[in-house]
């Protein structure tokens, strides 16, 4: 039985672990801290600008998509949709035409697949919006959303204050609201209060912060629409993001069902001098509560993420290091050139990462394979500008699928 260790439990690592376990490998998923998914909008961005199949030849040769190939990306998305299907979250979308969805500040973002609760039904897409401001919930900005949506050509009827029976006597987080609504009785009270508040409002679409439940959110969304009598569209909020948490939960359960051993907590490091050795990694070191423990492995999938997720670390002296094996990081120029002038500009640091070959092995500047049983996936892959391209989850899923295909045939 092939022993596969996946390091990192964001979207890419979790999906790689599930797919590898489904193909019969003995899979251990090692993760230090949560993050990737908990800060995510829960959608699948593949390519913002048209059909990836047609665009691919014009994408720069160092881009991860050129290594993964469009077939693997399509198959990966199919596999993802199959894995999340039983959850009832109802992912909708198309590989070729992105959806346009409102953000937490009322701008529009493009994504290829989104949970049903975030997608307004096309047949009702022309309905004017009503923005719901939930009592006591400060991490949502209805006035700003309204102004920006109008600027983007949306018809916005107004903002409605929604009462919150059972309001906690302290700051309310999105997770508090989601959990409150997960409780059958509280959900009934809250939704009925909203129904009374909205009675007679007319044919409108209700925009709400994404707080409609955690554990069975698909069902709760349908229930809320039925009770209130309006289509409801959720907007992901400030972190922690409920759509991301819902997806993480679904993937954890799928990983357990597939037989993945989940090890949460330890920092993973490499055996000493692995980069100077035989070009293989025989075991990983895990910094557990009792200090270092060794985990022998046949193959390793490195899914630790990019510079915002712990896979890369920027040092004071201007170097950027890969945190597990010390793999070379490409795209890092002078310290002064890491960031763009404005925060919302394309950021050069977004492109930092590890270079790989078509089997996703890490390679050096000359393209030589560095570690033959290590495969790099997800945010750690360099050469992509995930935000402006809208390619983050496409890279995550496509590379996860490709790595498993390479390791297990």
């Amino acid at each position: 039985m092939t022993k596969v260790h996946v390091v990192g439990a964001g979207l890419s690592g979790l999906v790689a672990a599930i797919l590898a376990a489904e193909r019969g490998a003995d899979v251990t998923l090692l993760a230090r801290g949560r993050g990737g998914l908990e800060l995510s909008h829960g959608c699948i961005d593949i390519w913002h600008d048209g059909d990836l199949r047609q665009e691919l030849p014009s994408i720069a040769s160092g881009h991860p998509y050129r290594m993964i190939g469009v077939d693997a990306i399509e198959k990966a998305v199919q596999a993802f949709l199959r894995i999340v299907q039983p959850s009832g979250l109802g992912y909708l979308g198309e590989f070729r035409h992105p959806l346009r969805l409102p953000t937490a500040v009322g701008s529009l973002r493009r994504t290829n697949f989104a949970p049903l609760a975030q997608v307004s039904d096309d047949a009702l897409g022309d309905l004017p919006c009503l923005i719901g401001a939930i009592e006591g919930f400060r991490d949502f900005f209805p006035a700003m959303i309204r102004r920006n949506l109008i600027e983007n050509g949306f018809s916005v009827e107004g903002i409605v204050e929604l009462p919150l029976p059972g309001h906690p006597a302290r700051d309310v987080y999105a997770s508090d609201l989601a959990r409150l609504l997960d409780r059958e009785e509280d959900a009934g009270n809250v939704l009925n209060a909203w129904q009374r508040r909205l009675a007679g409002a007319g044919a409108l679409r209700l925009l709400l912060p994404a707080v409609l439940g955690l554990r069975d959110a698909g069902r709760l969304h349908r229930k809320a629409e039925t009770i209130i009598g309006m289509p409801i569209q959720e907007i992901p909020t400030l972190p922690p993001s409920m759509p991301g948490l819902r997806l993480e939960w679904v993937l954890w359960r799928a990983a357990d069902a597939a037989g993945v051993h989940l090890v949460e907590g330890p920092q993973i490091t490499s055996p000493p001098d692995v980069m100077a050795g035989a070009g293989r990694v025989e075991e990983l070191m895990a910094e557990t509560a009792a200090g270092e423990r060794r985990f022998p492995a046949d193959a390793i999938i490195l899914a630790t993420g990019g510079i915002l997720n712990g896979g890369l670390k920027a040092l004071q002296d201007g170097r950027v290091v890969e945190t597990v094996f010390g793999l070379p990081v490409s795209g890092v120029g002078l310290r002064d050139e890491w960031t763009a002038e404005r925060m919302i500009d394309r950021q050069p640091f977004e492109r930092f990462g590890v270079k790989v070959d078509a089997a996703l092995h890490p390679v050096d500047a000359d393209g030589r394979v560095l570690l033959e049983n290590v495969h790099v996936i997800g945010g750690l892959l360099g050469g992509a500008d995930r935000i402006s391209e809208g390619s983050r989850q496409g890279i995550d899923l496509g590379s996860a699928y490709r790595a498993v295909e390479v390791i297990l045939g």
């Binding site: 908990e38 508090d176 922690p240 051993h261 509560a289």
Partner: protein, 417 residues
């Protein structure tokens, strides 16, 4: 030098991932959440001024926050130290002093076990304990046993490691107070499993690990336990003998908390803590080959495995789950709950009891819906608490494994919903 947990607060990005994961903040307004009472409040705690706020006392100490933090903030460690400062300022109530000393209770009450057990289960006595010192009538107080594990296994109790028997691997068994005074059969089964897998099992000198004292903010007394254990275990660790325990909370105390929370230092501690293993971690890492060659007889039943928070905080995953799933006929499902609620002595306290029950509700509901025959969990306080609130039989994974290995009779069912 140890990094003071409070200093890691500077790494906090306020992402609230810990707040979303916290089982206590999820059910009560009284606790503002780990980020708020941890890295955020730490800025307002001057070393020489009184503590400005007491809401940290509602932290159950489950440690989930530290485990989920993506930025290395020692949230739980910061919070337990803040709790200890509150205790220093206000002094621990008699109740906490009492709950913190399972070793003394065991020593004095074991010899009179039948009487003590009747007394502690009497409604009137529980009413008085609730009204006078604040031990909840719903708290699970396990029955004492008359003959402790150390008395039963006196021949194995040694201060120095014996010479190894030919072909055997020496293992020092850290049983903890609960196995010694309440559940000696569990300890005997653990010994039997280790022996069947080729080990020579010794009971080294040991006292209470100190976790109950630490959780109740009684750090000086906890450090004293820590020093005693380190010196008792050192002769074994110096010969490279692994120290294996069946209580995942005691083992976390030895592995990690002595240093990270109580601030104990030194090479002796480092040698001892690195050789500490949770029982199933040890089976998986060190005895897996032997275990794979052992015949496991079927247990035709369904069970739910609930990994205790303390076990999760070992950073070794859920080693028992994979091993239990090898037993033919046994269908083991994983708990969906982050925590059972009791968190050691937290759920025993009258003012915390309702919170602890609310935390556990998710698990109790899952158990009710699943219709499993029994429950499996690695820490004693979780087991007693889940049993008290569901009526289901709750066992340590070693009891199930010992049953499958033919080393003891394993009863599948008793009572339940």
């Amino acid at each position: 030098m140890m990094t003071r947990p409070g200093f890691t607060s500077d790494q906090c990005l306020k992402c609230n991932i810990c707040t979303a994961a916290c089982p206590v903040a999820a059910v009560t307004d009284l606790f503002p959440g780990p980020k708020a009472v941890g890295p955020q409040a730490e800025r307002f705690r001057h070393p020489e001024l009184p503590m400005p706020d007491e809401s940290v006392s509602y932290c159950s100490g489950c440690g989930t926050c530290t485990r989920v933090c993506p930025h290395g903030v020692a949230v739980a460690e910061t919070n337990i130290q803040a709790k200890a400062r509150l205790v220093e300022e206000k002094h621990a109530p008699l109740r906490d002093q009492f709950l913190s000393r399972p070793d003394l209770l065991g020593m004095f009450l074991s010899p009179v076990a039948p009487l003590a057990n009747v007394m502690l289960n009497a409604t009137s006595v529980r009413w008085v304990l609730d009204k006078t010192i604040g031990i909840s009538p719903g708290a699970a107080l396990p029955p004492f046993t008359r003959v402790s594990l150390r008395k039963r296994e006196a021949a194995r109790c040694m201060k120095q490691p014996p010479d190894p028997k030919p072909g055997k691997r020496r293992v020092a068994y850290f049983h903890g107070c609960s196995t010694n005074y309440y559940e000696p059969e569990l300890g005997q089964q653990a010994i039997a499993v280790l022996e069947r897998l080729g080990c020579q099992v010794i009971l080294p000198p040991q006292v209470c690990c100190g976790l109950p004292l630490q959780s109740n903010g009684l750090f000086d007394a906890a450090r004293e336990k820590g020093r005693k254990n380190v010196s008792g275990l050192l002769p074994f660790a110096e010969q490279g003998i692994p120290i294996v325990g069946t209580s995942s909370s005691c083992m976390l105390e030895l592995k990690h908390e002595y240093h990270a929370v109580l601030g104990l230092e030194g090479d002796d501690l480092a040698i001892v803590s690195h050789l500490c293993y949770d029982m199933f971690e040890f089976l998986l890492l060190e005895l897996n080959d032997a275990l794979r060659h052992v015949h496991l007889t079927p247990i035709n039943a369904s069970a739910l495995y609930h990994p205790p928070c303390q076990l999760r905080n070992h950073g070794v995953g859920m080693p028992a789950l994979g091993i239990l799933r090898r037993i033919p006929g046994l269908n083991v499902q994983l708990s969906d709950a982050m925590c059972c609620g009791v968190a050691g002595t937290y759920g025993a306290k009258s003012e915390k009891y309702d919170i602890a029950r609310a935390v556990g509700k998710g698990l109790f509901d899952q158990l009710k819906a699943s219709g499993v025959d029994f429950v499996i969990s690695d820490t004693e306080t979780c087991r007693w608490w889940i049993e008290k609130h569901t009526g289901l039989r709750v066992v340590h994974p070693i009891e199930v494994l010992a049953g499958a290995m033919g080393l003891g009779e394993f009863r599948v069912k008793s009572g339940g919903y």
